[in-house]
Subunit: 491 residues, 2 copies
């Protein structure tokens, strides 16, 4: 266990990278900007997927699958969308390779040039709305509530594992509605669903809000977002839900006939979260010893480590350990019994701390004699010795307690690092000294937002949905404002 | 319900296409060769995925995710692999678009040309083994048992929904082992797992066997396959499992140190099934009325349709229907109650027949009076009236019975269409008249195989694992042979 992390206080970015690598979550691939998600990291993604998928289905959505490729011309159809998405992207120009002159290497076959280039989807609004045109004729075809789990590509110049990679995994919902009200209701339903997931499964508190014009999705009327705060005082956008109005219906000519026989353009939403959530999960909770995973998303919730000398001790301990594993498993708790003889207990302790397993149970010869086990919590690093009786109930309660504690700790950190500022001087000072969410008045113009952003690197994370209406003055221009907005430096 | 299918006897290929489209499974996209998997089709894929994923995990495999892009040069590293996979593929040459001269359209930015072209993965051996080099040093790192669920692209000229598309969904397992024996054992374990899945979930009987040199995977020592027979007498390869020897370890220099400190190249397997399985599922069982889905993979196992006049009848029926739905759901049966008032019962009957729902329950006023329901089986189109008491047990048993019946029917068809042939004349005659699996002696040479294939369009589907050892003469050359092999025309 010589896997030591850089301390957060020394270099937060390096700590993050060390942790992702050393906890076996992911690594960079030979292909620039693309990551390899390793089994342990992928198992966290599977937990995320499975819970979200259940929530999408419970709210009436179905999954489908649309092509990876989008014809280049599709991007030009929605004027704002093209600005946002058709620039840095992977372009397929040919469909064949052939052997080079010496017969060893491969070269592109110039005779196999595509008539129209294909773009690897950076997001699928265009290909999906070109399809919806065929699927939607009447109000009876609405609402259409579809989600897709897929890989997407945005050619990023500066990449960081999970947080920003050229290829990433995500889900994208694309819904079609007969009325504006219904589409807005859907957009809000989803941002609430995301908030529920991020708070109650990931244990990360969120601020729900609307994006400013500058920050909204290219092609949307409104973008709702959930914003989270990382331990270094930087914000991370964890999910977005877009009310697209009739923009994509107009671009792809998707109309429906209503109950009265009148034709109208269809109303749209789209929404997504990505493998970036794993980055948020890591940065919100973990410490200098490694990951801290919330029990609701931990691939292994409990690990049992035997402390023994010789096989006869191990046999006795294994007997007890297997019984405990069985009773925990029956309660739906995921348990690993690590009886490898190739590693010492101390090495295993450090390994499971690094990997963020919420509860560790250690069993030694004295425990066998006394009918006890030693339990350690990963989040607080505290230990207690308990009786083996009723261990399943005890652990089940403990997991609930850990889930709550992790959330409360993150919320308390977020609250401590959220402050109202009323002058631009204070704004800059606090931003530099401790970061966090700064609640400030703003005059509502893109111009001011851009100036502040250029001077301080802080952006408007959102206009909070539950923000108080209060009179104030823009910190930059002094012009009147009715509500504070959330500024922060962001990932 | 004006959705009428072409009859199988008239035009099997057209029947298949009609069915895929009209049962809302999939459709062609604007991007040539790529399909859109619609919600109903995708829900079948989700069932397939979920069962297979469970089986992979139960046998010790973990999921991970590797990049979509593979550097062009990687394909040249394994001599045979390059022949098979680096030809018809999607080639990414640029990473940026820019506005064209008139500012409206988009063109490829020639300043953003990649130094080395990237290929969209047609299969991931090369990118994965280039990664395994970093992951494997010692025997302690082995075996490495990894699976990936992903999209892949092979630029196909002639495509058919599910059966052959340029982009498709699949899983690919890639395992690494310390010994040859262990790798072969894994290859065989997986072909057995696939056979178990295809027979017991899809209800399609398989022949397990080895591929001939001509037909094996490019880069493999041996390819194991499961071969299935469709209703038109053509074979469909449903899954393959490859023993790769040390070929990829050699190509990417992946060595490990064994317990005695000796270095050796790692042994490899790879294996996959794809969304093509949905094509097999459709073609093996369905009839001129539509899909016939095996209960073990049907997204909806039971549909309840009310037969009523007026709201008061409907209320009474709905009351009973909801009770039945609840009791079935509690037994783990998936039920839909279709109480839409926009469609008549006859329309609904035809719709669910088209969509292959295994059991239909109809409830009318007389059933309410008598405490009965009418039950119809999709596979046999037979009906019976039963008492409402113990309906859950009855339906649960019925679903098991349907699953078995579907398999037995397919097996009986397969057996009827499998015959031994001893002369080339008979071979050609039977092949043309009824197709099916032809068991014939073959001299074991690629030359003969290619000649037969060229003259008859039949290929060797496999050398069956449970084939009897018997003396015989090659139907083409008369040379001696020890075992019959399976010939067929194939998808």
């Amino acid at each position: 266990m010589a896997k030591v992390l850089t301390k957060r206080s020394e270099n937060y970015a390096q700590w993050y990278n060390d942790l992702v690598i050393k906890a076996d979550l992911a690594e960079n691939s030979v292909v620039r900007g693309c990551m390899i998600i390793k089994p342990y990291g992928y198992s966290i993604w599977e937990k995320i997927q499975s819970e979200l998928d259940r929530m999408f289905k419970a709210t009436g959505h179905s999954n489908a699958y649309f092509p990876l490729f989008i014809p280049k011309s599709f991007f030009s159809k929605e004027a704002e969308h093209v600005e946002g998405f058709a620039k840095e992207c992977a372009v397929v120009t040919h469909y064949r390779l052939k052997k080079d002159a010496d017969g060893k290497g491969l070269i592109v076959d110039e005779n196999a040039k595509l008539e129209e280039e294909l773009i690897i989807r950076p997001t699928s609004e265009t290909i999906i709305w070109s399809t919806y045109k065929k699927w939607i004729q009447s109000y009876r075809d609405l609402p259409l509530l579809i989600n897709q789990w897929a890989n997407v590509v945005r050619w990023e110049m500066r990449t960081r594992l999970f947080l920003r990679t050229s290829e990433f995994l995500w889900q994208e919902g694309h819904t079609a509605h007969a009325t504006k009200e219904e589409a807005i209701e859907e957009t809000e339903k989803i941002v609430n669903l995301y908030a529920d997931f991020v708070e109650n499964y990931m244990g990360v508190p969120v601020i729900k809000g609307l994006k400013s014009e500058n920050e909204k999705f290219a092609g949307a009327i409104n973008t709702y977002a959930i914003e989270t705060l990382m331990q270094d005082g930087k914000a991370l956008q964890a999910g977005t839900s877009h009310f697209l109005g009739q923009n994509f219906a107009r671009a792809f000519d998707v109309k429906f006939t209503d109950k009265n026989g009148k034709q109208d353009l269809v109303w749209a939403t789209s929404w997504g979260v990505s493998s970036r959530l794993i980055g948020a999960l890591i940065m919100a909770h973990s410490d200098d010893n490694g990951l801290i995973l919330p029990p609701n998303l931990a691939p292994i919730q409990v690990v049992i480590v035997p402390i023994y000398k010789g096989n006869s001790e191990l046999d006795k301990i294994s007997n007890t350990a297997e019984k405990i594993r069985k009773t925990l498993t029956e309660k739906g708790i995921s348990v690993k019994y690590d009886n490898r003889d190739t590693q010492k207990p101390g090495w295993k302790f450090a390994e499971y701390e690094l990997k963020g397993v919420p509860v560790r149970i250690a069993i030694g010869p004295r425990d066998i004699a006394n009918g006890t086990v030693e339990i350690a919590r990963r989040d607080t690093l505290t230990k207690e010795v308990i009786k083996q009786e009723n261990i399943a109930e005890h652990i089940a309660d403990l997991l609930v307690d850990i889930q709550t504690s992790i959330f409360n700790r993150a919320r308390s950190f977020r609250d401590k690092n959220t402050c109202k500022v009323d002058t631009y001087e204070d704004f800059k000072k606090i931003l530099n000294e401790k970061g966090g969410f700064l609640l400030a008045h703003w005059d509502g113009t893109s111009e001011t937002e851009q100036k502040i952003s250029k001077e301080t690197k802080a952006t408007i994370r959102c206009i909070p949905l539950d923000g108080k209406i209060e009179k104030g003055k823009c910190i930059y221009t002094g012009k009147p404002s009715n509500q504070r907005v959330v500024f922060a430096k962001a990932y």
